[in-house]
Assembly symmetry: C2
Homo-oligomer: 113 residues x 2
DNA sequence: TTAATCGTGCGACTATTTTCGAACAGTATG
DNA sequence: CATACTGTTCGAAAATAGTCGCACGATTAA
């Protein structure tokens, strides 16, 4: 029996409105930022203080909107940013959002001014 | 006495999450697309079939999130995209979103058919 | 002035989203 | 095997967002 399988939208099925909505939630935007910095990340590291069901809710929403790829690893769950797919579908979007997030939010080091 | 005044956030107060949320709504995203194409537009042209109160709701949300500039013109209300401010705040964001919207959604408003 | 038009604010309602506890199933460890 | 740990699902609750009728003030035109 397959352990856990996840459905992911094809790259050309990713809808801009759903991506924007997924990224408009501060919690999820922060998860995406972490994924962009760290690469594939254990799901629990994306929200150590959140109830598990809440974490599942947000990771599922990110997955269904095409922002992340989810992979079962033993009993854990590894999350990857679909940066290449997003770059192909909406060139520049991810970089722009993350750059804007860094500059907009609190004092994340602005070394390269 | 000024007829109608509107509050607009300063450019450096525009928050990425709020902008993304504003653009994640299909109705508002379409308004923004029209504004990008047509420039300053009479508010009623952005949603001729919508109830006025609904239209006000969406234009206010776009204004408060820093996406548009609203100006009273007689009894009408002219809407401008804050494209320069957005470009300064989040370089590339607007172009990327609109380009992604065009490519993703082929069913543009059929008003100009 | 009178009438028509426009946008706004209010209030109520519906729909969607978020949160999270509890029970459950799969996995690793002993 | 039993136990501890993981993520998922379900259900319900709360919070948020969208829709829209209506009354009102302001503006324009006759």
């Amino acid at each position: 029996m397959p352990p856990r399988t996840y459905h992911h939208p094809d790259t050309d099925e990713i809808a801009i409105a759903r991506v924007l909505f997924a990224l408009s939630e501060p919690l999820r935007l922060n998860m995406v930022r972490m994924l962009a910095e760290q690469g594939e990340t254990d799901s629990i590291d994306l929200g150590p203080d959140l109830p598990r069901s809440t974490l599942t809710h947000h990771t599922s929403l990110l997955r269904e909107s095409g922002v992340v790829f989810v992979r079962a690893e033993g009993r854990k769950c590894m999350i990857q940013l679909r940066d290449e797919d997003l770059e192909q579908r909406f060139p520049g979007l991810l970089d722009t959002v993350l750059t804007g997030y860094e500059s907009a939010d609190d004092d994340h080091s602005e070394a390269d001014a």
